[in-house]
Symmetry: C2
Subunit: 302 residues, 2 copies
């Protein structure tokens, strides 16, 4: 019997808390995996390199390419001398750490590099809620609000990268006298609706607020405005809402209702008028989106 020769990929997700690494032919065929806490960058990346090297030797596989999905902010400008480095993160030890350069020096295969949210967006495109769509947006709402965009079947990077969380939305000070907590913009979307804003406004973190608390109608009011703005700018086929805050029971339904009311039938499609639960949806990959995305990034290299 002839042996099937497969292409193998390395996926690396560097998160603020944990670092995951997969050696896999695809995310559903993982031959080896590592999950370690994010400590000192030199030491942590050394462990990852050892894991990859011993995995390659043990399984006698040939690696086609690698994808790194990193927490940010990161330098994505290919022309920059610090391309692939971490930038001004609050994790001081990681600031300016040349993440991509370290792996490039260790391995001969090509390596793709992007933000964790862009990688998660790619993963939802390949294996999740974005399958078959040419235009969709993945937004994660947690301690911050970030998003990735697929337009004409391609990730949007632009000049730097999207920062969806920092858009402005209507903020009626009579209904919501809260000033907002964004250190740059005060009452931008993230300053009004990310986890820390919910906690500052109501004196309790989101997980402690019961389902019938008025916090959730207000949260839906802001996230529905975000969904309207994304709809008006990009006309996506779907908006995927991930992250910890989005998982609150009933929140996505509240956002769907508020979105319909705010859109006010200005743009018409069966998706807005009838099948809103196919338009504003939960992600399909959950906690796996990042590491699946790292594999998807690797597979973008031809």
């Amino acid at each position: 019997m002839e042996k099937v020769i497969r292409d193998y990929y390395i996926g690396l997700e560097t998160g603020g808390t944990n670092i995951k690494c997969f050696i896999a032919s695809d995310p559903y065929n993982v031959v080896s995996e590592l999950n370690i806490p994010t400590r000192d960058p030199g030491e942590t990346t050394d462990k990852v390199i050892q894991f990859i090297q011993s995995g390659i030797n043990k399984h006698r596989i040939s690696v086609k390419s690698m994808g790194i999905a990193s927490f940010g902010p990161v330098d994505l400008n290919i022309a920059s001398p610090t391309y692939g480095s971490i930038k001004s993160t609050p994790k001081l030890a990681w600031r300016n750490f040349p993440l991509l350069a370290k792996f490039k020096a260790a391995f001969p295969f090509p390596i793709a590099f992007d933000t964790d949210v862009n990688a998660a967006t790619l993963a939802e495109a390949r294996w999740g809620a974005g399958i078959g769509l040419s235009d969709f947006i993945y937004v994660t709402i947690g301690t911050g609000i970030g998003g990735g965009i697929i337009s004409n079947q391609q990730l949007v990077h632009g000049l730097i990268h999207p920062e969806i969380g920092h858009m402005f939305v209507k903020h009626d000070l009579l209904l919501d006298p809260f000033d907002g907590v964004c250190p740059y913009h005060k009452d931008c979307l993230e300053g009004l609706a990310a986890g820390p804003a919910i906690e500052a406004r109501w004196g309790n973190p989101p997980v402690n607020l019961p389902e019938d608390h008025p916090a959730w109608a207000m949260e839906a009011h802001y996230l529905a405005q975000m969904a309207v703005n994304l709809t008006m700018v990009l006309s996506p086929q779907c908006i995927i809402l991930g992250g910890g805050v989005s998982q609150h029971a009933g929140l996505i339904e509240l956002i769907q209702l508020s979105f319909k009311e705010k859109l006010s039938e200005y743009v018409q499609s069966p998706l807005y008028n009838k099948k809103i639960d196919n338009y504003i949806v939960a992600p399909k990959l959950g906690q796996n989106a990042g590491i699946f995305g790292a594999i998807a990034l690797a597979q973008t290299i031809q």
Copy 2:
């Protein structure tokens, strides 16, 4: 001497007031042009067809393709039975008029069809302020606010098409107690900042408001929020502001200042910090963007 064989294109711009048609090898080499008022759709399109037919005969040229840049709303869904028709326009005679189908029945060459603002965006990409850019946005601010997006060197259509004017922005009722005039959303961007909103708020159309009138600082406040939102969502390399309202002396400079203040150095680039007049700019093609865009549309057909 050998005769040079050129490809010729037909560009047709259907505006609410006038209809323009070019027979040209490119917008700077026009062999014949027509400019007639927009009247009854059957009669007006008959005149255009006669003009094209006699131009082809007179100049003995072969036409490669045609582009139609139409006022909207239009049906851009290629799978729809009414693709290429005008939809619910206030110009009642044109409602449901099968614009594309009429020209397809009259001519053998292929015809591309898009909105006037998407065509103008393509024209700025090819011959205007967007030359060489992979990601930029063209916004026109006049009786309405509309925009076209180039992302990864392609026009964004998505599910329907962008409707940038109907995004929500911060509206502080203490500073601006005006309710907004959008019949769908009241105080969306268009309801607060398009020409009719300026006239309703100040009791005078924009052209009658002197340069030092407080209307212009308020206008800049809203358009700068739009520029921030577009920057946060799409990370463009440039935002081009066209249309009648944008031409008011000094307005673009006010928007540049307000944008810098609102962005608050959250995203950093020489474009935002130093060369803001290369980031928020006037269009280069002015009144010609629509008809040049119709030629650019024709040239998208390979």
